[in-house]
């Protein structure tokens, strides 16, 4: 399989008889930007959990390139180059913005290397460039705890960039953002895609439209429809699910 391709086939997850994912199949090509939408309980977050190793599938194949993700833990999957931004932004409150990015920076992750770590000048420049990109250059020394909600979202996206992942999973990145911030985020994600694959889970259809890429609609744990936003929006099955019968 091509390196950097995310490949899900027949993935099912059952919690106590409840089917969160029902034989889900999905392929994300390297460099692709894909939006995933779906009503509540469609299995979007569970799908992310499966890809990042938080939840183990009951059945099915999950591969990234040639790596079987179902056999790896979260840290190993992240090391492989799959980054995730959570729905609720999680940054390290006790550390500064700069330190948050430094922790995310791609570098040896074992305790001994961390103990002997000295920040190289090139890495410092990269962190500073990222700080500028996410608009937090003047807050570099501030503790993350004092950031606003939007700033935390940005910081988390910045941390994702520092990881230099091949695949980014982004869960509701614009929740709680102003229109301007939303636009900015869409532009950023479009720019990132191309070098890496990006999967965005979002409720905000305007945002999905702004991304202007392929859309997958999930429903009851399986793919309901796939294609451009216009095609999907006119699919009668999608309309039925969203508007009720």
């Amino acid at each position: 399989m091509k390196a950097g391709t995310l490949y899900l086939d027949g993935v099912s997850v059952v919690f106590d008889g409840f089917r969160a994912l029902n034989s889900l199949s999905l392929v994300i090509e390297p460099g692709e930007l894909r939006a995933i939408i779906g009503p509540n309980g469609a299995g979007k977050t569970t799908m992310m959990d499966i890809i990042t190793g938080k939840t183990r599938p009951t059945a099915g194949t999950v591969q990234f390139g040639d790596h079987d993700l179902t056999r790896m833990d979260e840290a190993a999957i992240a090391e492989l180059g799959i980054g995730r931004k959570f729905q609720k932004p999680t940054v390290f409150d006790a550390l500064t913005v700069f330190e948050n990015l430094e922790l995310a920076l791609k570098a040896p992750r074992d305790p001994w290397s961390c103990l002997r770590w000295v920040l190289p000048p090139a890495a410092r420049r990269r962190i500073e460039a990222t700080l500028a990109e996410i608009g937090l250059a003047d807050r570099a020394g501030a503790r993350a705890a004092i950031l606003s909600h939007g700033q935390r979202q940005w910081l988390e996206i910045g941390m994702l960039l520092m990881q230099e992942p091949q695949l980014l999973l982004v869960d509701e990145p614009v929740a709680g953002m102003t229109d301007q911030e939303t636009e900015h985020t869409a532009a950023l994600l479009r720019r990132i895609a191309g070098q890496r694959s990006v999967v965005v889970v979002e409720h905000d259809l305007e945002f999905v439209r702004a991304l202007g890429e392929k859309v997958t609609v999930l429903c009851e744990g399986a793919v309901l429809s796939e294609g451009s936003i216009d095609r999907v929006q006119n699919d009668p099955r999608v309309i039925e699910v969203y508007l009720g019968r």
Binding site: T52, K54, D73, E74, A75, A76, A78, E79, G83, R84, F86, T90, V91, F92, D93, A94, L95, T96, F98, E99, E102, L103, A104, R109, D110, P111, W112, C114, L115, R116, W117, V118, L119, R124, A140, G141, R143, I146, M159, Q163
Partner: protein
């Protein structure tokens, strides 16, 4: 280290300086104590034997406090069994001291300690081999707590046992060890433990010179431990620890193996506690299974809480201040001490979550 990555507990420079000054002054006073002890008793600066001996003890406790702080304050691993690592370190050196008694025991057996003769044993058990050599005993004082912590931590961290579950398991560990060491046929002297030590490294233990040497050994080890912890907590590893403490799963999604991060700091912390115990036993001249009691471990946790967890100075401050109050209070109202200690648990958790150091930091937040 970059200028923007200041140390984790962010103090205003002046206060940081004051704290650092206090720390250095404290260490200096400690360093002078054995010398002041030599002054004539009526001299104003004379330090009594009692002061010297209790401060020696407290330095060992301070190392235990540092160890707990490293695990709890930085990595969020609240161990209620660190007293066990301390005791294991103490037992390792205790075994060496027992071997050195040689034929001077009550029964005069050339090799076997008295309690083994008393039990009718004729041979030294295999796990006593090698303890006649000081370097081996010292190595064991570090390795045994380290290995135990490694095993327990590996089992616990791997299956993501955190928070109170981990605390309870560590408490169960020290409880189980206490029960085990109370047994006579374990070969560790049963409930009497080890005592009546004669010498260490060629020094007679009951001489003033030996006491001063042990005191300085404790002071050096404590200073070394502080420097080591300081280096560790200011490194990126220290920041990873804090990140693990606050949002462990997020750290995992960043690609850090939190198991190995936590395991390494837990093992180091256990070894530090073991070293504290190893210094403690020659200073106080006795070790028994009571050291394993869960109450001891949790009392040590409260030293750290009182001083202020997540800061190294806090751990030291807590160990010294709580033990000073304990020594003072138990001398004239022993019944009150347990009330005071219990009250300390309540007061610190309710009103001083950041400890005494937190008091200094008040007003700096936000």
């Amino acid at each position: 280290m970059s200028a923007t990555t200041a140390e984790t507990p962010r103090l205003r420079p002046t206060r940081a300086l004051i704290l650092r000054g206090l720390l250095l002054a404290g260490l200096l006073i400690l360093a002078l104590l054995p010398l002041l002890n030599r002054l004539p008793p009526d001299h104003a600066l004379h330090a009594s034997d009692f002061i010297v001996s209790v401060s020696g003890k407290w330095m060992c406790y301070a190392m235990l406090a540092l160890a707990i702080d490293l695990a709890w304050g930085y990595a969020g691993i609240l161990s209620l069994g660190h007293g066990a690592f301390f005791a294991l370190g103490g037992y390792a050196i205790g075994m060496h001291l027992m071997r050195l008694i040689g034929p001077r025991g009550v029964y005069g057996h050339p090799v076997l300690p008295d309690f083994m003769v008393f039990l009718g044993w004729t041979e030294l058990p295999w796990y006593w081999w090698g303890f006649q050599f000081f370097p081996f005993a010292l190595l064991m004082a570090l390795a045994v707590p380290g290995l135990l912590a490694g095993l327990l931590g590996w089992l616990a961290f791997r299956s993501r046992i955190t928070g109170v579950y981990l605390s309870i398991i560590t408490q169960a560990m020290t409880y189980a060890l206490m029960l085990a060491f109370f047994r006579n046929d374990m070969g560790f002297g049963g409930n009497n433990g080890f005592t009546d030590f004669k010498e260490l490294l060629g020094m007679k233990l009951n001489t003033a010179g030996a006491r001063a040497a042990l005191f300085y050994a404790a002071l050096l080890s404590l200073s070394g431990a502080v420097l080591l912890c300081r280096h560790l907590t200011r490194s990126k590893l220290g920041r990873v620890l804090v990140a693990v403490r606050d949002a462990e799963s997020r750290v995992r999604f960043l690609g850090y193996s939190t198991v190995s991060v936590k395991l390494s700091v837990f093992v180091l912390s256990a070894m530090l506690a073991g070293l504290g115990g190893a210094l403690y036993v020659p200073l106080v001249g006795i070790i028994n299974p009571g050291e394993f009691s869960p109450g001891n471990s949790i009392e040590a946790v409260i030293w750290v809480a009182v001083g202020g967890r997540g800061t190294l100075v806090g751990a030291l401050l807590g160990a010294f201040s709580v033990n000073a109050v304990k020594t003072w209070l138990t001398s004239f109202a022993p019944d009150l001490w347990l009330f005071a200690l219990g009250g300390l648990f309540v007061a610190v958790t309710l009103f001083l979550p950041r400890g005494l150091i937190g008091l200094m930091r008040k007003g700096e937040e936000r």
